[in-house]
C-alpha cells in the first residue's frame, strides 16, 4: 500500500488495509467487490496497492476469489494467498450469497470484511451491519434503525469454516496476529475487521482509532476467534467503557434517549453473555460487565 490514495481523512478502512497487508505480505492476489476501497485503491491508471488487484461487481467477492484460486490451483501455485477485501454491504448484504457459497465449498482464501457499518461509498445508507440505534441517510430522523446488526461472524461460523475472527484497527497486534494465523490455514478464512468511518459516523477524524477501541472496550465489537466452527477464544477482555460513552461521541447516535441507551446496553450485555457461553466462560452481571 502506498500514499496518495483518496480515502477520507481518518479512514479506518485504510488503516485496516495497512495492517492486513503488513501481516500478509505481497504474495497475494486481492479481489475487491464494490466498496469504499474501490475508490481508495485508485482510479485508472493508478493503484494504491502493490499487489495484484481485481475490482469486481458488488456481490461477487466470494465467487471471483474462488475463480482466482481455481486458476492458481491449475497453475500449481500454492504460495499465493487469495484475498477478498469487501465492505459490509458486499459481505452482509448483496455479497452474502456468494460468500456463503464460497465458504460452504471451503474455498481456500481469506475473506476480509472491513466493516464501517453502512454503505459509506454511496453516502451513508443503512446496511444490515448498521447497528441498532444508528442514523443513516436511509434511516433518518425518528426512523433510526431499530433492527440489530447482523452477526456475520456467527453466520460464517455456522458454515463450520476453519477460521473466523473479529479484529479491530485499534488493536494492530491482535489484527496482524490473526492475519498471520489465517494465512497459515487452508480453506475458507473469514476476518471481520471493525473499521471506523469518521465521515459516516459523524465523528472527528482524529477519533477514528479511539472509537474503534471503544467499540471493543464496550463489548459492542468483541475480539474473538472461532476455529472449525466450535472452538471459541475471546482475545481481549474489556477494561470497561460504557456503551453510552461510545455512543455520545458519535453524531449518528445523538438522537438516542437515555432509555434507548440503556436498552442498547442490555442488548450488548446479552450478546456478550452469549459469546461468553460459547467460549465456555462464566456469565457476568451488571451494567458494566
Amino acid at each position: 500500500m502506498v500514499s496518495g490514495h483518496v480515502g477520507c481523512a481518518g479512514c479506518g478502512a485504510a488503516i485496516a488495509m495497512r495492517f492486513f497487508l503488513q501481516a500478509l505480505g505481497n504474495q497475494a492476489i486481492m479481489v475487491m467487490p464494490a466498496c469504499c476501497w474501490s475508490i481508495i485503491a485508485g482510479s485508472y491508471p493508478m493503484s494504491s496497492l502493490r499487489i495484484p488487484l481485481i475490482h469486481t461487481a458488488f456481490e461477487t467477492g466470494g465467487a471471483v476469489a474462488s475463480g482466482v484460486r481455481a486458476a492458481l490451483d491449475m497453475k500449481g501455485d500454492t504460495q499465493t494467498t487469495v484475498v477478498t477485501w469487501a465492505g459490509d454491504g458486499g459481505t452482509f448484504d448483496i455479497g452474502f450469497q456468494a460468500l456463503s457459497g464460497a465458504v460452504e465449498r471451503n474455498e481456500d482464501f481469506i475473506y476480509v470484511c472491513y466493516d464501517n457499518e453502512a454503505y459509506m461509498n454511496t453516502g451513508v445508507q443503512r446496511s444490515s451491519s448498521t447497528p441498532y440505534g444508528a442514523w443513516t441517510t436511509t434511516t433518518p430522523g425518528r426512523e433510526w434503525k431499530r433492527m440489530r446488526k447482523k452477526n456475520i461472524v456467527e453466520a460464517l461460523v455456522a458454515h463450520r469454516i476453519p477460521y473466523a475472527a473479529t479484529a479491530s484497527i485499534a488493536y494492530p497486534q491482535d489484527l496482524m496476529a490473526k492475519v498471520a494465523k489465517a494465512k497459515a490455514i487452508k480453506g475458507s478464512r473469514f476476518l471481520h475487521i471493525f473499521a471506523s468511518c469518521p465521515t459516516g459516523w459523524r465523528i472527528p477524524s482524529e477519533l477514528s482509532v479511539k472509537i474503534a477501541r471503544m467499540a471493543v472496550q464496550t463489548n459492542i465489537f468483541p475480539l474473538y476467534e472461532v476455529e472449525n466452527g466450535v472452538k471459541y477464544t475471546i482475545n481481549l477482555s474489556p477494561k470497561g467503557y460504557l456503551v453510552r460513552e461510545y455512543f455520545k461521541l458519535q453524531g449518528r447516535f445523538k438522537h438516542l434517549s437515555d432509555q434507548d441507551l440503556s436498552e442498547i446496553q442490555n442488548m450488548v450485555n446479552e450478546d456478550w453473555n452469549l459469546l461468553l457461553r460459547k467460549a465456555g466462560l462464566p456469565q457476568v452481571q451488571g451494567e458494566h460487565m
Binding site: M1, I15, R18, Y44, S47, S205
Partner: protein
C-alpha cells in the same frame, strides 16, 4: 474513424482498465487544513521537582536499559541522585499522572537505582562542562547547597573553591542524616565525583564574616551556602535544663559513631524529619522514644513514610500535646504537656491548634530532645537587609555591594522548604543567576532564568539554561486527561524491598534494599513519559495515509506533508501527548 466490416484489424494493445503505476503522484497533502506535528511538552513530575529533573526522559532511558544516560540526565539537574534517590520527599510522585491511573511511578526508587548502578560500575559522568570562563568562585559550606553550587558553577565554566568548617564535606548529609536512611557509602561517591570533576574542597577551613569583603581579591564571586543549624528556642520554662539536648547535635554524634546507648525513655519534641530521625536513632540505641507533637500526625512536616516506619520500629507518637514546662524529677525530667485541640483553618491551609481548656498531662522521661526546626547559625549567613543591589530570587538571593564581588546566598536559610532537593534547586538558581550577572548584567537575570523554567512552578532546568534540547519543549504541563490511557495497562507500583521489620532497629543498616535492573525497567515502563516521544511508533502505525515515514534521525520518523491529510489520528493515538494538531500555517 470509419469502421468497415471485414477490414478492421485487431488493436495491438488492450485498452482496458489496468494499472501498473502507483497513486503516489497524487499529493493528498493538499486536503489538509489541520496539521499535526511533533511537539514535546512538559511532564508534571519535572515541574514538581524543585531540581527540574527530566524524569519522563530518565524513565524512557531506563526502560531501554540506558542507565548511564539516565544518570547523566539526572546529573545535569542534580548532582545528588544517590542522596535524593533515598531521602528526597519526592513531590514528583504526588503529581505523577500515573497516580490517577493506578499508582504513581516509584520515581525516587528509580533515581536511587540509577545512581547506585552508576556507583556500582564506577561510571564517569559524560557531561561536558562549558569552556572555562577564567573566573574563580568561592563557595562557603560543603553541605548539599554548597556542593551543588560548585557542581553547577563548574558546569558553567567556573573554577570553584569550597570552604568547609568541619573536617569532612557533606554537611547535613553527612552529619545530620542517620545512616539507615543515607549510608555513607552512597554519599561519598557523589561528593567524590564533584571533587574529581575539578572542584577544590578545603575542609576544616571555617570562613569568617570579613571573608565577604576580602574575597574579591581572589574570587569573582562568593557563594554562601552555610545551611541552618541553629535550633530556635522552645520558649518554655526549663528548656535549658541538663538532659535536654538538640536533636541535630545528637544525630551528628550518632553519625560519628558515638551516641550513648541507654535503656531509658526519651521524649523528642517536634514533628519534622529531624524529630523522627532522632526518635528512630534512639530506638536503635535501645531507648524508648516518644515524639511529642502539638498538632496531628497528618500535620507533621516529616515524611509520612518515615513516620510510618518510625511507628513500626516502636516509636510512640503523642499527637496534640504541646510542652509547656520541663522540670527536673530525680534523675529524669518531668514534662508538662498541654492537650491541644483543632481550631480554625489557618491562612496557610493547615488547621490551627488551640489549648483544650485545662487538660494537662505530665510525663516523666530520662532525656528530652528538641527538634523543632533550624535557622541560620550566624546573621551574616543570610543576606543583610538593605544590601546593595539585592536580587531576591525564588530559592536564592543575589547581592552585589558597590565595591565588592557578587555574593549569592543559597540553601536552607533562603529556600521555601528546607530539603536537600531545595538546596540543589537553590544552588542551581544561584549559579545560573550569577552566570547571567557576570556575563550579561543584573538586568538579564530574570528573563534568562524564566527561559530555563520548567513549567509554571519556577523549577529551573540547567539543560534548558544551556540551550539543550529540553528548551524545544512546550511549557504546557501535560494533564492526566491529555494522556491516551487506552495505550496503558494497569500495573501495580513496585514494592520497595526492605529489611525485615525486626532487623531494622537492630542496626543502622540501610532499610531500603537494592532493586534489580529488571524491577527498575518494569517500574520505568509504568511511566507515561508525559509529553515526551518515546518512539512508540503509534503515529506511524495508525496513519491511514502512510504519511509518517521512518527515517534515520534522532526522532526516527517524520511527517510527510505531501500526503498527510491532517486527520489527527497520530495526535490522538500518541499515548503521551507528544504531538499537536494545529491550524495550517500560511507559508
Amino acid at each position: 474513424m470509419k469502421a468497415k466490416n471485414n477490414s478492421i484489424r485487431l488493436p495491438e494493445r488492450l485498452l482496458i482498465s489496468r494499472s501498473y503505476t502507483t497513486s503516489e503522484s497524487n499529493k493528498t497533502g493538499s486536503w489538509r487544513y489541520l496539521m499535526p506535528r511533533y511537539y514535546e511538552k512538559t511532564a508534571p513530575c519535572s515541574v514538581a521537582c524543585p531540581a527540574a529533573e527530566d524524569i519522563g526522559r530518565i524513565q524512557m532511558l531506563n526502560t531501554q536499559g540506558f542507565f548511564k544516560e539516565a544518570w547523566d540526565t539526572i546529573l545535569v539537574e542534580n548532582p545528588f541522585p544517590a542522596v535524593c534517590g533515598r531521602i528526597c520527599f519526592h513531590p514528583c510522585e504526588k503529581v505523577c499522572n500515573r497516580g490517577r491511573f493506578d499508582e504513581a511511578v516509584s520515581i525516587r526508587a528509580l533515581e536511587r537505582f540509577v545512581a547506585d548502578t552508576a556507583q556500582r560500575y564506577k561510571l564517569t559522568s559524560g557531561i561536558e562542562p562549558m569552556a572555562f570562563t577564567g573566573k574563580r568562585i568561592a563557595v562557603v559550606g560543603a553541605g548539599p547547597a554548597g556542593l551543588a553550587a560548585a557542581h553547577f558553577l563548574h558546569l558553567l565554566g567556573y573554577d570553584c573553591h569550597v570552604f568547609e568548617a568541619l573536617p569532612e564535606p557533606g554537611g547535613i548529609l553527612r552529619w545530620g542524616l542517620p545512616r539507615y536512611r543515607l549510608p555513607l557509602a552512597a554519599l561519598q561517591p557523589e561528593i567524590e565525583r564533584i571533587r574529581n570533576s575539578g572542584v577544590s574542597i578545603y575542609c576544616g577551613q571555617a570562613v569568617g564574616r570579613d571573608f565577604l569583603h576580602s574575597a574579591g581579591e581572589t574570587y569573582g564571586a562568593v557563594f554562601m551556602a552555610c545551611g541552618a543549624q541553629r535550633m530556635p528556642l522552645l520558649r518554655i520554662p526549663g528548656e535549658d535544663l541538663p538532659g535536654i539536648s538538640e536533636g541535630l547535635a545528637f544525630l551528628c554524634s550518632v553519625a560519628q559513631g558515638g551516641g550513648p546507648g541507654f535503656q531509658g525513655t526519651a521524649a523528642v519534641i517536634g514533628g519534622g524529619n529531624t524529630a523522627v530521625d532522632v526518635a528512630r536513632c534512639l530506638r536503635r540505641l535501645g531507648a524508648r522514644a516518644m515524639i511529642i507533637y502539638r498538632r496531628r500526625r497528618e500535620d507533621m512536616p516529616a515524611f509520612a513514610e518515615e513516620i510510618e516506619l518510625a511507628l513500626l520500629e516502636g516509636v510512640e507518637l503523642l499527637e496534640l500535646y504541646a510542652p509547656i514546662r520541663i522540670e527536673k524529677e530525680g534523675n529524669g525530667l518531668r514534662l508538662t504537656l498541654q492537650q491541644m485541640k483543632i481550631g480554625a483553618m489557618g491562612a496557610d491551609g493547615r488547621m490551627r491548634v488551640v489549648p483544650d481548656e485545662n487538660r494537662i498531662r505530665e510525663l516523666t522521661v530520662d532525656q528530652v530532645f528538641k527538634a523543632i526546626g533550624f535557622e541560620a547559625a550566624e546573621p551574616w549567613h543570610v543576606p543583610e537587609a538593605g544590601a546593595v543591589s539585592h536580587l531576591k530570587l525564588r530559592q536564592a538571593v543575589l547581592t552585589q555591594g558597590a565595591n565588592s564581588v557578587p555574593v549569592v546566598y543559597c540553601g536552607d536559610p533562603v529556600t521555601e522548604i528546607q530539603s536537600v532537593v531545595h538546596a540543589v534547586a537553590s544552588a542551581k538558581e544561584g549559579a545560573m543567576a550569577l552566570h547571567v550577572l557576570l556575563t550579561g548584567g543584573t538586568a538579564a537575570v530574570a528573563e534568562t532564568l524564566a527561559a530555563a523554567a520548567v513549567g509554571p512552578g519556577g523549577s529551573l532546568s540547567m539543560e534548558a539554561f544551556l540551550k539543550g534540547e529540553r528548551l524545544n519543549r512546550s511549557s504546557h504541563v501535560v494533564a492526566y486527561e491529555e494522556i491516551n490511557i487506552d495505550h496503558f495497562q494497569y500495573a501495580p507500583r513496585m514494592i520497595q524491598p526492605r529489611l525485615l521489620q525486626a532487623e531494622r532497629v537492630a542496626s543502622f543498616a540501610e532499610i531500603d534494599l537494592k532493586i534489580s535492573a529488571g524491577m527498575a525497567i518494569r517500574e520505568a515502563e509504568r511511566c507515561f513519559n508525559c509529553g515526551l516521544c518515546n518512539q512508540c511508533d503509534n503515529c506511524r502505525l495508525f496513519c491511514p495515509d502512510l504519511a509518517v515515514r521512518q527515517e534515520d534521525s534522532k526522532r526516527g520518523r517524520r511527517i510527510d506533508y505531501d500526503y498527510c491529510k491532517g486527520c489527527g489520528i497520530c495526535v490522538v493515538e500518541c499515548p503521551r501527548n507528544a504531538m499537536v494538531l494545529e491550524e495550517e500555517q500560511d507559508s
